[in-house]
Amino acid sequence: MSDAAHAHHTTTGIENRKFAMWVLIASECFLFGTLIANYLVNKARSISGPTPQEVYKIDVTTLSTFDLLMSSVAMVLALHYCKEKELRKFQFWTFMVVLGGLIFLGFQYHEFSTFVLHDGLGLSTNIFGSSFYLLTGCHGAHVTVGVLWMSSILITSLIKGAEWFNSEIVEVAGLYWHFVDVVWIIIFTVVYLFVYV
C-alpha cells in the first residue's frame, strides 16, 4: 500500500500509529528504568560470587555496542530511502538492520553462555545474576522483536516490490529500533562501565 493511501490528519497532528508507538516507548522507559534501578540497587548485595568485576568482558561488550549503534544508522538510512522510494537501497539498509540485530544477539548469546558455562553465573546463582539477566535478557528480547519486525518488513518489500512503500510503518518500526539502541546506550554505561563504582 502506498503512502498516499495512508495520508490523513489527526486531532493531535501526529499520525496515529506513530503516536501509539511513542506512548509504548514511554511505558518502556518506565519498564527499563525499573529494571536498571533494580540492577543498580542490588548488584553489590550478593552474599556469594561471582561478582560483576569477575565476569564482565568490556571489550566484547564495546564491540556489540558499536554494532547496535551502526544498526541504528542503517535504520535511519532505510527510512530515508523508503521516503525517497529507492527500493534497492531501502532493502539493503533494512537487511543491514536485521544483520546488525542478529550480530548483537550473537554477542549476547556468547556473553550469556560464557557467564553460565565458564564463570558459573546463572539466573539464580546470586542477586547480581538475577538482576543482570533480567535486565539484559529483557533488552535482548526487545532486540529479537525488532529483528522479527524488520525481517517482516524486508520480506514484504521483497514480495511486493515497488508497489510497497509505506514509510509510516517503517518510521514506527524505526522508532522502536532506535529506542532499543538508546536503552543499550544507558545499559552499556551504567551496567558495564560502572562495574567498579
Partner: protein, 113 residues
C-alpha cells in the same frame, strides 16, 4: 484522536525542516561521532587507573558522554528534534518517572546502601 481536521501547517513546516536538516551525510557524521564517543568511553574505562582518574570524575564524564549519545539518537535518528513537541514531552516525562523510580528504590533500601 483519529478524527480529521484539515491541514496542519506545522506538519508541513516540520517535514520541510527535517528535509532541510537531515540526510544520509548527516546521519553518517553522527554515526562517526557516536563511534568516537563510544571509543572514548572504552578508553576512559580501560585507562582509568593509568591516568589516575578519580571515580567521581569518571562517573560524571561517562554519564555526560552517554547523555550526548542519547540526545543524538533521540533528537536526530528518532527525529524528535523536528517532530511535534508533544512527543518530546511524553518521552521526557517518562524518563523523569524512570529516574524517580530509581531514586525511590535507592531510598527505600537505605540500610543495605
Amino acid at each position: 484522536m483519529a478524527s480529521t481536521h484539515g491541514n496542519h501547517p506545522s506538519h508541513k513546516h516540520d517535514a520541510h525542516a527535517e528535509h532541510a536538516h537531515a540526510g544520509p551525510k548527516l546521519y553518517w557524521i553522527f554515526a562517526a561521532i557516536l563511534c568516537v564517543i563510544t571509543f572514548f568511553e572504552w578508553i576512559i574505562f580501560k585507562k582509568k587507573e593509568a591516568f589516575g582518574i578519580p571515580n567521581a570524575v569518571m562517573i560524571w564524564t561517562l554519564l555526560s558522554l552517554s547523555l550526548v549519545k542519547f540526545v543524538m539518537v533521540c533528537g536526530w535518528y528518532m527525529h524528535l528534534r523536528f517532530d511535534n513537541k508533544m512527543l518530546t514531552n511524553i518521552f521526557v516525562f517518562a524518563g523523569l518517572l524512570a529516574i524517580a523510580v530509581f531514586i525511590m528504590m535507592k531510598l527505600s533500601l537505605p540500610a543495605m546502601g
